[in-house]
Amino acid sequence: MAIEIEQPRVGLSKVAVSKTHGEDSPYFAGWKAYDENPYHETSNQSGVIQMGLAENQVSFDLLEKYLEEHSEASSWGKGAPGFRENALFQDYHGLKSFRQAMANFMEQIRGGRAKFDPDRIVLTAGATAANELLTFILADPGDALLIPTPYYPGFDRDLRWRTSVNIVPIHCGSSNNFQITPEAMEAAYQSAESMNLKVRGILITNPSNPLGATIQRSALEQILDFAVNKNIHLVSDEIYSGSTFSSSEFISIAEILETRGYKDAERVHIVYSLSKDLGLPGFRVGTIYSYNDQVVTTARRMSSFTLISSQTQHLLACMLSNKEFSENYIKTNRERLSKRYDMIIKGLKKAGIECLKGNAGLFCWMNLSPLLEKPMRESELALWKVILNEVKLNISPGSSCHCSEPGWFRVCFANMSEQTLEIALERIHKFMEQRKRN
């Protein structure tokens, strides 16, 4: 019979209650729908097929084979030599052997056309952390980063939430295949200025998410020139660099710098991770590669908040320094992704759907604008809902990627078996047939 006294609510911070985590958007809502009703080949054939998550599951077997044959990677063997050092190792420089292996792997992906110095590699627990960390280092609260649209929805959260930095979009359109132009960059810069926002950098994703295409050499040159001109930083998120369908089409900003004799390099920073190319997002492995000594030093210190487990570093150092494994993996992974891409493009074409011509990544950029009632965001979202709830496919609407043209959707194809992909294509086909009839 105690009297209930209302306790004053002990408050939380603005960061804690802010919606900048962005998880209320369709991008994430679709995942939720999948979580609640996931498709399964045998036990839940009418469930939602996940095509909104850019995960690479096509090459697991290669990883398993490696681990099976190399027990030293996942254990410390008889007498466990090196275990003690590994268990105690919390040095934010990271295991030298692992950094060396990462540098080599990054070089291999670029066909040896660029060199990476292991001492410029800073390790973080995932590219999510790497991008946030760089933002903390390159910009102050209230400043702005320019990012070409459409872009990865996670950036809104990763780059802005705790940092209080703003994103100003560089608008790209289908008329030129969403390529980044100097005019668009300048317009974005002016837009930031007019809002009194200090621009600190431009962030590109190359190959692009969600476009699934690499950035051309000429565009990269223009982007670098723009950064030099405005005296700002250039962050190149190359997380999909190993997921190109052919080895020659990807050009890294590192290569551009090399041809320029590394002039202006101190403003360039590359983000990489093993989550996409190696299909190991659960391992939480990301890196910042910076040509700026001060950024490297600071990023290293800040990485204390996001260190990679030493056990994981040990495992991956073994795996990635095995040249035979890594060469074979890169080659095979490319072939399989390419095959998947062909499969989905063909299947969509049969259903009367066109996609942007892509050459990389774990997804394709699908054009459903002809299906929209009106060329507006609301129609796109309505269509997205129908596809999610009736066709039971979770795909990502372009508006969550800040695409300025409604009707585009990102469709992931590497996170499922071929059979499941077939089923997804069948469902799309049926859906399109139905619409034609109506």
Binding site: L63, A87, R284
Partner: protein, 540 residues
């Protein structure tokens, strides 16, 4: 030879006896800051001339400042030359970052024309503190019984190597299966794909069980209230982000873990207000002192959002008793603020006192749980700092929701989780590990204290942690931070022993030093003592 250990079933010891304090019980007067204004008539000139110069300087700078149209000029307020602070290792403890986040005007230097944020330019010179320099020296010249008998012995790093052999043996037999799966089937698909960023539920269950075990089952932890992070370092930072806004403050009793300056303040813009504890109280927390600090802060217009306690405390090694914990909760309730209880050393108690978790306190009080948040991790109690496993345990659903989302920036690695699920589920192993570890810590502590005592160095009786918090004020040349750092330097460079001076921990009384003993073997102790003896020259 074994000390008797306090177990939960006994009643707590009636008195905590101090094994010694600095020069008697009288509190020494702290030497005031050297900002004492001197001069009389000079006072006027002394104020006007600098002001005038200052204004002229500003005027000069303004005229010669970057023209926004001139694209070649640097936009920054300056960058710090990094050459004088080479990066050091073992950076999870970082006391050099005691400065606030104000835009320090550093000497401009073009490492490149493009600037980095003001937020970090003040940080770049963080490597100068004794704490860092000591760690660097050890790395450059580490003691080894056979290979480098004249090297520097490490007593400045809170690592526990005493029981690693037990973990090693377990891993040698079980690691592979543990990571990839039992039986014949190796499955990478269990660990490769995206996992919940706040940790696998199985791992949360295992960690909750472990936490309960190290606290002798006095309290049970609900896995659903756990958020896992890549170490306790991000756990503290995430809580700081969740509970306070930029410019707000936490009250933290001193001396405290040097890393808090980085974890709580660096990227969050949150301040720490020191609440001094004194040797007269054996450095125990005083609620009266908390209250005073809170009121002072309020007067200064600072909003206090919470208190951060460490239990066991670092560096003093105190446990907070039940009464204090209840009083703390009352205090927090009265001021409507949060409590962060850093219990990372809960399993490393020395057996002479009862450890009580904040979780046990709120267990009994149904109200007020929402203001209590516990930080834990496997770096100390399980000796696995490299594996990066930290815990936020909270009773507040809103904090839980926010922390879960924020854990994406500092997530634990899946294969490591798998490995540890196996290990922590092996309750027999865990039990053996915990009790063996207790014994070894206790033994080492006793030996170290005895050794120091023989040289006339008294220390606070420690009840937990890897530290001996010793009073060396009788051996410093001047009763000041300067004197203390001089002694630290001698100990490091002449004695080749790395210890942590109390000033790194913001201790208000000079002369206290932290000796970590859990990185030593028994054989090392006499050598350590010999070396310290060499250095000490009593100052009258």
């Amino acid at each position: 030879m074994t000390q008797t250990r306090y177990y939960r079933t006994r009643s707590p010891e009636p008195e905590k006896e101090k094994t010694g304090g600095g020069g008697g019980t009288a509190m020494r007067v702290i030497v005031p800051l050297q900002g004492v204004v001197q001069g009389r008539g000079g006072l006027v000139l002394g104020s006007i001339i600098p002001c005038a110069l200052f204004y002229f300087l500003q005027f000069y700078l303004k005229r010669n400042r970057d023209d926004p149209d001139d694209k070649n000029e640097s936009n920054s307020t300056g960058q710090n030359p990094t050459t004088r602070s080479p990066s050091s290792e073992h950076l999870t403890e970082l006391p050099g970052l005691t400065r606030s986040l104000s835009r320090a005007l550093l000497s401009p230097r073009n490492s490149g024309p493009v600037s980095i944020s003001a937020r970090v330019s003040g940080i770049v010179k963080g490597g100068d503190s004794p704490y860092y320099m000591g760690l660097k020296r050890v790395k450059e010249d580490p003691y080894d019984e056979l290979d480098n008998p004249n090297g520097v012995i490490q007593l400045g790093l809170a690592e526990n190597k005493l029981s690693l052999d037990l973990v090693k043996d377990w891993l040698a037999e079980n690691a592979r299966e543990a990571i990839l799966g039992n039986g014949k089937e190796l499955s990478i698909s269990g660990i490769a794909p995206y996992q919940p960023f706040d940790g696998l539920m199985e791992f949360k269950v295992a960690v909750a069980g472990f936490m309960s075990q190290v606290m002798e089952n006095a309290v049970s932890f609900n896995p659903s209230q756990i958020v896992l992070t890549a170490g306790a370092t991000p756990a503290i930072e995430i809580l700081s982000f969740c509970l306070a806004d930029t410019g707000n403050a936490f009250l933290v009793p001193t001396p405290y873990y040097p890393g808090f300056d980085r974890d709580v303040k660096w990227r969050t813009g949150v301040e720490i207000i020191h609440v001094p504890c004194r040797s007269a109280d054996n450095f125990h927390l005083s609620i009266a002192a908390l209250d005073r600090s809170f009121n002072q802060a309020k007067k200064r217009g600072m909003k206090v959002r919470g208190v951060i306690i460490s239990n066991p405390s670092n560096p003093a090694g105190n446990l907070l008793n039940r009464e204090t914990l209840y009083s703390l909760l009352d205090f927090a309730r009265e001021k409507n603020i949060h409590i962060i209880s850093n219990e990372i050393l809960a399993g490393s108690t020395l057996g002479n006192e009862e450890f009580v978790s904040m979780a046990e306190i709120v267990d009994q009080e149904d109200t007020d749980r929402k203001r209590v948040h516990i930080v834990y991790g496997l770096s100390k109690d399980l000796s696995l700092p490299g594996f990066r496993v930290g815990v936020i345990y909270t009773f507040n659903e809103d904090v839980l929701a926010a922390a879960r989302k924020l854990s994406r920036f500092s997530a634990t690695s899946a294969p490591t989780q798998r490995l540890l699920i196996s290990m922590l589920s092996d309750t027999k192993f865990v039990r053996t590990f915990i009790t063996t570890n207790w014994e070894r810590l206790q033994r080492m502590y006793v030996q170290l204290v005895a050794g120091l005592e023989k040289m006339g160095i008294k220390s606070i009786k420690s009840s937990g942690g890897f530290y001996c918090w010793a009073d060396m004020s009788g051996f410093i040349s001047s009763y000041s931070e300067k004197g203390e750092v001089e002694l630290w330097d001698k100990l490091l460079n002449i004695g080749k022993v790395n210890v942590t001076p109390g000033s790194c921990c913001h201790c208000i009384e000079p002369g206290w030093f932290r000796f970590c003993f859990a990185t030593l073997t028994e054989k090392d102790i006499p050598i350590v003592m010999e070396r310290i003896q060499k250095v000490l020259k009593p100052v009258n």
